[in-house]
């Protein structure tokens, strides 16, 4: 069915205006990251004034002994390790819930679903107190361990596994004498890969963007992820005005690559979600 030219122009124009809204802060960020502190507050935010982009970038990476790079590395570690491990754990749990009938299965599933509904921020404070007693507060574990628990991932992978893995494949494996673990790793995981990627990406972005948990758990700046590091720069900025420009530059470095990655990978999201929603 083809739409009339007029409706195409109208709709596309509307989409274009909406796109301007979504791009506005990004545009501002790109412009602002080229300015010096003086022109940041002096000149119009909508266009360039003095071009100091390279200097700003250099400052971001060298300030305070290159602590920004440390923060970036921390974010990568937290997000990558956390997402990988939690995806694996969620896959195993989802597999158990999807493909085995055992007593208490629905109870467990409802418990997990309940976990999805509990706000994570309600957990952060008691987790902090628990970790403080165990001496784990202000360590990498303090952020990694809670990231391993992903009830939503279990929910998604249960649905996905139930649909994507036929029982007879599993039967065949067992008849052949393979152990449960072998079946899981060699057969099941391969069949649910799109679901795994979806859950991994969700969790990666979620951990990357997380603020409350690291804020509560960490006080040593060397352990900060980028979110915490940039807000800490910003909080010092009223006494040290050069930090405004550093915060903006740091935001630019952290935001632009990740946005490109999400935009490119959004098709994976879509693929994984489509599969999940068809079966769900």
């Amino acid at each position: 069915m083809t739409a009339s030219l007029r409706s195409r122009i109208l709709v596309t124009a509307l989409l274009g205006v909406i796109a301007l809204y979504f791009l506005l802060p990004v545009y501002w960020l790109v412009i602002a990251s080229t300015k010096s502190t003086g022109s940041l507050f002096g000149s119009s935010g909508m266009w360039f004034s003095d071009m100091r982009f390279l200097t700003n970038m250099a400052n971001v990476f060298t300030y305070d002994g290159g602590v920004y790079l440390r923060w970036a590395a921390n974010s990568v570690v937290y997000a990558f390790v956390g997402a990988t491990a939690s995806t694996l754990l969620s896959a195993a749990a989802g597999y158990a819930l999807a493909k085995f009938a055992f007593r208490g299965r629905e109870t467990v599933f409802n418990l997990v679903l309940g976990g999805v509904l509990v706000p994570a921020t309600a957990l952060a404070l008691p987790l902090y107190l628990m970790f403080a007693k165990l001496g784990l507060a202000n360590t990498y574990w303090a952020v990694l361990l809670p990231s391993l628990v992903n009830p939503f991932g279990v929910y998604l992978l249960r649905i996905y596994t139930a649909a994507a893995v036929p029982d007879d494949v599993l039967e065949a494996g067992r008849i052949d004498g393979a152990s449960e673990a072998r079946i899981f790793f060699s057969v099941v995981l391969r069949m649910v890969t799109p679901g795994l990627v979806t859950v991994f990406l969700f969790q990666f972005v979620g951990i990357w963007n997380n603020y409350f948990l690291p804020l509560v758990m960490l006080s040593d700046p060397k352990l900060y992820p980028i979110t915490l590091g940039l807000t800490s720069w910003q909080s010092f900025a009223d006494r040290q005005p050069e930090l405004y420009q550093l915060t903006i530059g740091g935001a630019f470095v952290s935001v632009v690559p990740l946005m490109i990655v999400t935009a490119v990978l959004q098709r994976f999201w879509r693929a994984g979600l489509t599969e999940g929603s068809v079966k769900g």
């Binding site: 507050f41 403080a132 507060a137 202000n138 449960e180 006080s219 006494r239 405004y244």
Partner: protein
Amino acid sequence: MRRSSNLRRLLVAMLAVASFAAAGCGGGDPGAQSTDRKPGEKITMTFWSWVPGVDKAVDLWNSKNPDVQVKLEKIPSGSNGGYAKIHSALKANQAPDLAQIEYQAIPEFLLEDGLVDLKPLGADQHRGDFVDWQWEQGVFGDGVYAIPQASGPMAMFYRADLFEKWGIAPPKTWDEYEQAARTIRQKDPNAYIATFPPGNSAWFTSLAAQAGAHWFGVSGDTWQVNMDDPKTIQVAQYWDRMRADGLIKTDPDFQNGWYSDLQSGRIATWVSAQWGDAILSGNAPDTAGKWRVAPMPQWTAGGTASANWGGSSTAVLKGARYPKEAMQFALWLNTDPQSIDLLIAGGYGWPAAKGAFQGSALDKPYDFFGGQKINDVFATADQNIDKSWKWIPTTTAMYENLNVGFRDAAAGRGSFADSVRAAQGKTVADLQAKGLQVKEG
């Protein structure tokens, strides 16, 4: 059934590990024993602070003391998250050896058992090195819990060039200040004499102190709270009047908007502490040469009352492994003339060390203030501060109680005076909720 028994064993093993971990096998070290440093032993102590310039002083110490090194870590200023960090660290047994604690925060750290008593380490011998009221801020009961660093005697920063342009003389009383505010509004509809920052009740507290209020005290084992006394209400109503007549702004201070106003002349005065000079010169550099300092406006003509805003100490935190060395560093930091000069250059405030003013870096004309020797004004102000002001262990919450009310008033709901009255009740409740004995009045 071999497969299932394998799994069973795996399961049991996992549960065992989990419960072992949960039982807290690791754990922080709650009773990190403080020890004496053996001669020649190299140690490193951590120090958390936010004062600009303190890094240079720390570097100086490190160059002079190769065996007792201090590692400085910058944290946000106390009320902006610095104290929260220190409290968290204390709770997790990961506190630094030393930290910057403003005077008003000392009782709250005492309440959480966070400070080391320095009296057994011989702190009292150094009492004479410091201005007494500042020493007293760290004294509770029989112990000494902090080494004073600096205070913030107050005066009025004003744009002399604009005042001249508008034909206003620097106001000597609060009545004259109000008059000046009106004149300014007439002469320039975009300019205001000042802002009343609704989120900075510490500033208001100092103004109340200047008027003669005594909010807090102790009587035996009971804390006393008297925030809504007539003098405080008088101050609150004064600013209510100015707000109602549109004579002042109610924007936050220490923010871009405020700095921009200072720079452009939309705000013409700032009643503030001595350490405000660095704030002005750092954030409104284009106004160099245009500001001057005059004594604080007075409630009674001819008076000389001033107040203190801010002021902090260096404290040794519980869990410090070498409290004696920590105390020695704290003493050096706050009394050594070279250290003091470095701190002054950073704009840390008015030194707590006796006799530090003469001949120090403070005792000179300031280019930013058109060559005025501004610290003569502050030195006089320092002599006229009510030294008997005390703090309570819930100062943070008290400030927030005031802030909440002030914010509502700035938005048109209620008045500053009502906020003070409401804060009185809430502050009493805060102290009672902590399990302390409180009395009003």
